[in-house]
Each structure stands twice: as C-alpha cells, then as structure tokens.
C-alpha cells in the first residue's frame, strides 16, 4: 500500500519514545556525566604518576633515567639527588613530566625496572595555562602504592607477586624468620571502589 513503509518507521520511533519512559534502564543509555561516571577499564592509560611506599619521601624511583631516555616525545626530566659530597644518590631531586607533551603511551611504565612509574586513571586534569600548570613536578606526581592497588588491582597482584619472588630470591641466605616488612604479598585483591573486574 502507499504509505506502509512510513507507518512502520513511525512505529519504530514511537516504540523507542515510549521505551525511554516505560523501561528507562533499557531505553536510555546516556550517563549524566558529572553526577555519574562510566567505569574505566583497568588497563586504561592516562598520564603517568610516581609511586611511593608508606611515606612520600620513600619514593621507589631510583633516578636511573631509563624512562627519560625511553620516552618517545621526551617529556620526562630527571635530576638525581646529590648528598653533601656531591655523590649521586639513588633518589630523584627533580622529576618533571610535561603533561602537555606526554601522549600517555605507557612505555615508561613498561621499561621501569623498579615498578615506580605507572599510568593513571585520572582524566579530569585540564588547566588554564599550558606552560606552568601542565609541567607537573615530582611532588604532584607522587601517589601512594595503595592508590595503585585501588585503581588496578589485577596489575597490583602481578607486581606484588613479582616483587615478593624477587625479594625472596635476593635474600635466600638471610634467615627467613625475619617477617618480611613488605605488605603481605598474598593476592589481597582489595575490592574498594565500584571498579568491576572486566578481565
């Protein structure tokens, strides 16, 4: 008949229109952004951050500058600490990442032998001034190890297991009765936060 296709089309839109009211969960899929946020995948990469155990000055990074040389856009800048005599210490005095240049490729995380730099899940970091504000200093980069456990539990376990194995291999001669002061290496998969495990 003449207008049959038009009618079918109209019914489809009518059905969608009613669906949004009768069955909102199925009908509407827009997420009201500031109020509710979409859960991020674990391997989501945003700008890197440095990790410290316990207190901020126990920073894991030993200023070996592998990540600085490895970084494709060269946005990492490290100056190791020097003690009174001028000997180089295994701690970075200055560790800057230029977020404006970093393309969050994640290479620094892969090459870091000391598991001290990881990719963050924080994406609301827009600033007004590109030059000063996006040049992130060491103090702003530092984040506790628990934060890493929270945002990427799966990787946390893998790294913990690796570190535990390495520390066990490194000191087999030392008697094992001394309790390992590192947090227990068991697969503590802290389930805080509503991050669903989408493996």
């Amino acid at each position: 008949m003449f207008g049959w296709g038009v009618l079918k089309g109209m019914l489809v839109t009518l059905w969608n229109f009613l669906l949004t009211y009768l069955w909102p969960k199925k009908g509407i899929f827009t997420v009201q952004y500031p109020e509710k946020k979409l859960p991020l995948a674990q391997r989501y990469r945003n700008f890197p951050f440095l990790v410290y155990d316990g207190t901020p000055h126990m920073i894991r990074c030993v200023a070996c500058k592998i990540c600085e040389s490895e970084c494709p856009p060269k946005c990492i800048y490290i100056i190791p600490e020097k003690d009174a005599e001028g000997r180089v210490q295994k701690k970075p005095a200055v560790f800057d990442i230029d977020y404006a240049i970093c393309m969050n490729c994640g290479l620094c995380e892969e090459v870091c032998p000391f598991d001290s730099i990881f990719m963050d899940h924080e994406y609301e970091i827009s600033k007004y001034n590109r030059a000063e504000d996006l040049m992130v200093r060491k103090e702003a980069l530092l984040k506790p190890w628990e934060y890493f456990a929270k945002i990427r539990p799966h990787d946390f376990e893998r790294i913990e297991a690796k570190r535990a194995a390495k520390s066990a291999k490194a000191k087999p001669v030392a008697p094992a009765e001394k309790p390992s002061q590192k947090p227990d290496a068991g697969p503590t998969s802290p389930q805080q936060g509503s991050v669903p495990k989408n493996g």
């Binding site: 038009v6 229109f17 949004t20 509407i28 827009t30």
Partner: protein
C-alpha cells in the same frame, strides 16, 4: 462553574474594560479592546514558540533514546530562555556585498505573516481575536506572504546556497499551497461560510469533519501540506543542512536567525491550530474541561505529530517533493471536492456509500497512475 472557567479570559477582559470604562471615553475603550487581544497574541506567540523549541528537543531526544536538555532549569525548562539570550548576544554578521536593506527587512517581514495569522484562530468559545467573515481566506492569503519574505532573505544574502534554498522554498511553497487551498474547499462547501468561528460551530457535538469520509483524507492532505508550508522535516528541503548549508538563512546569525526560527515555529503552531479548527472541531470537547483547553490539547497533539515526523522521516528529494504535490495531492483534492459535494447533497445513508465508493475509486486511480513504471527490457539489435 464550568461556564466561568470556560469563559474566564473573556470575562477578565470585559471586567478590565468596565473598570477602564469609568475613566476613559468609550471610543478609547473600543481601541483598548482591540489592543488587548493584539497584546495577548503578541505575548503568547513568542512564549509558545520558545516552549515548542524545548518540547521539540525533548521529544527528539527521547525518540533517539537520550534525554533532551535537562541542565538549565528542572527539566531543561529554562533552556529556551538560555537560547534566547544566546541568540541576542550572538554577533550579527551581514555579508559584505549583501543587499543591506532587504537583508535586514527579510526576517522582519517573515515574522509578520505567522503573527497576523494568529488573529483568525478561534482559541476558545468566542475567544477569537478577529472574527472576519473571510477568516479562512485571510489565513491562506497571509501565509502566501511568507514566501515572498523568505525569498527576500535568500536573494539579499548574495550567496549561492541561500539562493538555492530560496528557489527550492519558492517552488515547494507554491506547489504545496494549491493542494492546501483545495483541501480546505470541502470544509467551506459543507459549512458554507469562510469564517473560522462558523466552521467550528458547524462541528460542535463530536460532528467533526475528520470523521466524515472526505474529511479524514482532506485533513491528512491539509496537515501534510501544512508541514510542507512550514518547511518541516519530510519537506525541509529549503533549509537542508546536509545539502545546502542552511538554505535560505545561511547568512543570518544572532537575532535575525532567531526571527527566522520564530517564524517557522509560530507558523507551525498556526497551521496545526488551523488544522484543528477545520477538521478536529476547534475548541469543541466534552464540557467538563474549558473550551480553550481542548483547542490547546489538540494543537499540542498535532505539534507532537509534526515533531514525530521530524524524528523519523528522511528528507524528500526535490523531484519526489514536486511529484508528490502535483501528482498525488492535487488530483486527490480536486476529486475530494466532488466527493464532499456528494456528501453534502445526498441524504444520510446514501452519502456515506457514495463517498466511500468515490474515495476508493480515486485512491485506486492514484495508485495505478503513480506506480513506479519499470522500464521495458532493452532490446539490443546487434547483440544476439
């Protein structure tokens, strides 16, 4: 009680005029009586337009499985005001070699036509601004005026896209105006009066014209021609964003663009108002609700249908657009006038039979003549 609610606006106006009558001489009262209805129309039209834009965005959103605007105000109710402010503060660019005078004049003139047309719509029982005895003709006459304004806009902006849009708008408006006028003729034939108030009187008591065999189809044709007249979606070729940038209002920005926008929406309201008056019994409805509420409800439903069209239907091609008007609507409306005459003259049982036969005949004829003619298989002489 229901009577007073029904006549609440009329009584308020009379009471106000009586109060004024004490102070002012009577001829000023006559003027003020006219001015009040004009002021009300001029105030109501933009507000209706603003909240029609809001309604359109909400319904379109819901059709596409998303919320409409819900940030400004509770359900996005302040969104039209925000749009208004945005339109006011936007910079008003006039192209260099545009025709300054007419470029400025076009949006002004295009808003006049829809506002004039509201004067003739019967919003409720004796709530009509100007009860002309040529009301319906006034509506059609003034709506042709919009075409000229639209063309002024497209010609003055010296831009190929707007000129293309203007040409398309011209052709579309003219070819859809004739079926529109012809689809109204049966209503005039049956009510033998051109005044909109008399047309509504003829349909009181659920005797709406849409229920008559000829009325149903005439209403459909009138409504579709109205959608075409207003350049809304299935027929929105003149401002087709995808093909010609923004059609006739490409070179307009800021308040002038808002005026084009307002003209479109107020004429949508006016056309659906007229469709309600002609075929859906105007303000006629069961007595427990006031008459102006029924008019509002029916117009609201028709506007929803227009928005529904916008959410679903793709745009017409130019030749389909023209073909549809000249090959389908025009013959049908001509035959419809004859069928309506049959309906008016024959006594009760016979006229329904005659009408149904007439309508089926004309519809089958249209089907036959408008079927897609498949080209004959080509006969290649030399290839065997």
């Amino acid at each position: 009680m229901a009577e007073t609610i029904d006549q609440i606006f009329v009584l308020a106006k009379d009471r106000f005029l009586d109060l004024l009558g004490i102070v002012l001489p009577d001829w000023i009262i006559l003027l003020v009586r006219i001015l009040i209805s004009i002021a009300v129309l001029l105030a109501v039209a933009p507000v209706v337009m603003m909240y029609m834009t809001w309604l359109e965005r909400k319904v379109l959103g819901r059709i596409q499985n998303r919320y409409g605007p819900n940030r400004v105000g509770i359900f996005g109710l302040l969104q039209p005001i925000a749009d208004g402010i945005k339109m006011l503060t936007k910079e008003d660019i006039v192209p260099k070699n545009a025709d300054q005078v007419i470029h400025f004049l076009a949006p002004v003139v295009i808003v006049i036509a829809p506002l004039l047309v509201l004067a003739v719509l019967p919003f409720g029982r004796n709530m009509i601004a100007a009860d002309l005895n040529v009301g319906l003709l006034f509506f059609l006459g003034v709506s042709t005026f919009g075409v000229i304004a639209l063309f002024m806009g497209s010609w003055a902006s010296r831009n190929k896209y707007s000129l293309l849009g203007g040409m398309r708008a011209f052709a579309q408006m003219i070819s859809y105006e004739i079926p529109m006028v012809l689809s109204v003729v049966p209503v005039i034939l049956v009510t033998s009066s051109l005044s909109t108030a008399a047309i509504v009187e003829a349909q009181l008591g659920w005797k709406w014209f849409i229920f008559t065999p000829w009325g149903g189809f005439a209403a459909l044709v009138f409504f579709l021609c109205g959608v075409a007249e207003v350049n809304r979606t299935p027929f929105d070729l003149p401002e087709a964003e995808s093909e010609i940038v923004a059609g006739f209002h490409t070179e307009y920005s800021g308040m002038k663009f808002a005026l084009f926008y307002m003209a479109e929406f107020i004429s949508t309201f006016a056309i659906s108002g007229l469709a309600v008056t002609l075929f859906l019994g105007g303000w006629d409805g069961p007595a427990f609700l006031p008459s102006w509420f029924w008019f509002g409800l029916k117009t609201f439903i028709l506007i929803l249908i227009m928005i529904w069209f916008r959410g679903t239907l793709p745009r017409f091609r130019v030749d389909q657009l023209m073909g549809f008007a000249w090959k389908v609507f025009l013959p049908f409306t001509l035959a419809n006038i004859f069928i309506a005459a049959l309906w008016a003259l024959l006594p009760y049982p016979k006229n329904f039979i005659a009408d149904t036969i007439g309508i089926t005949v004309i519809l089958t004829l249209l089907q036959i003549f408008n079927r897609k003619e498949t080209p004959k298989k080509r006969k290649y002489l030399y290839a065997n």
